[in-house]
């Protein structure tokens, strides 16, 4: 274990806020807080759901900025290499739409409503991500 990096208290508290956000959206709007689904929605022809989706997508980075300011900054170590960032972004965009959700829609909302489909998705993307990291960090990297 990396005891220097391990941060259970802020992880739990931040996680609780994410869970609260999902409950807020469902209680107020009756909608699932899945970021890839909401983003995919605003990329389509504007409909009655377009304004609230955009508002959610504007609020999310704004909330992160306010929290970062309140904390006096957050630690960030970014991936090296623009090629990696582009390739990863394309895979994440395509995969989340094909799979119908990401870490929030399947990972939090899906598991919270006890969806077997979402559990399968979470197991697959976790395993896939772990294998990818193993390959890049321990097989071809370092």
């Amino acid at each position: 274990m990396d005891w220097n990096a391990f941060s259970p208290v802020t992880a739990l508290a931040g996680g609780a806020l994410i869970g609260l956000s999902a409950v807020i959206l469902l209680a107020l709007l009756g909608r699932i807080a899945g970021v890839s689904g909401i983003l995919g929605g605003v990329l389509q022809k504007p409909d009655a759901d377009w304004p609230w989706r955009l508002a959610f997508l504007v609020g999310l980075p704004l909330g992160a900025m306010l929290m970062a300011q309140a904390l006096g900054g957050v630690a960030l170590t970014l991936p090296a290499g623009i090629g990696i960032v582009i390739a990863a972004g394309v895979l994440v965009g395509f995969g989340t739409r094909l799979g119908g959700g990401c870490t929030s829609g399947h990972g939090i909302c899906g598991l919270a409503r006890l969806s077997p489909r979402s559990l399968a998705a979470v197991l697959v993307f976790m395993a896939s991500a772990m294998v990818t990291v193993f390959i890049t960090h321990h097989v071809i990297g370092r």
Binding site: L20, A88, G100
Partner: protein
């Protein structure tokens, strides 16, 4: 307007949670995904606590809302609850999730944190989000409904 404010509030809380939890930091996410670092003592299990904290709130919250719906309640500013209708496993779910996982593992960035990077680290954030939108557009163009 009420719907916009409700979604804005949810987004604000979501983004604040991502920044507080450390999920915005790609290196921290990779530190969780890197099981190969366990023998050398370099594994960071924090992300599991993010998931635990989120489910500790969302699980009872969703169950409560389901009961409210069953007793006839509606969302505060909408006509009804839109629970996802899809059921059962299919190849799209599995393949899509596997592709998503590859991208997540490559950079340590998933869609929510990507949006936070738009303001926390604009250079990387803008490039990643643009690429993600290209990937989403690619999905729309290559799949017929």
């Amino acid at each position: 307007m009420a719907r916009i404010l409700a979604a804005l509030l949810s987004g604000l809380v979501f983004g604040a949670g991502l920044a507080l939890s450390g999920m915005s930091n790609p290196a921290k996410v990779l530190g969780f995904l890197d099981l190969g670092a366990i023998p050398a003592g370099g594994w960071d299990p924090s992300l599991a606590f993010v998931m635990g904290g989120a489910l500790a709130v969302a699980l009872p919250g969703f169950a409560w809302l389901r009961r409210q719906q069953q007793s006839g309640a509606r969302p505060v500013v909408a006509d009804g609850f839109h629970w996802p209708a899809a059921q059962g496993l299919d190849i799209r779910l599995i393949l899509g999730s596997a592709i998503f996982g590859m991208g997540w593992g490559l950079a340590g960035i998933c869609p929510g944190p990507a949006l936070t990077l738009l303001v926390l680290a604009p250079q990387t954030g803008v490039i990643f989000v643009a690429a993600m939108i290209v990937g989403m557009a690619g999905y729309v163009l290559t799949t017929k409904r």
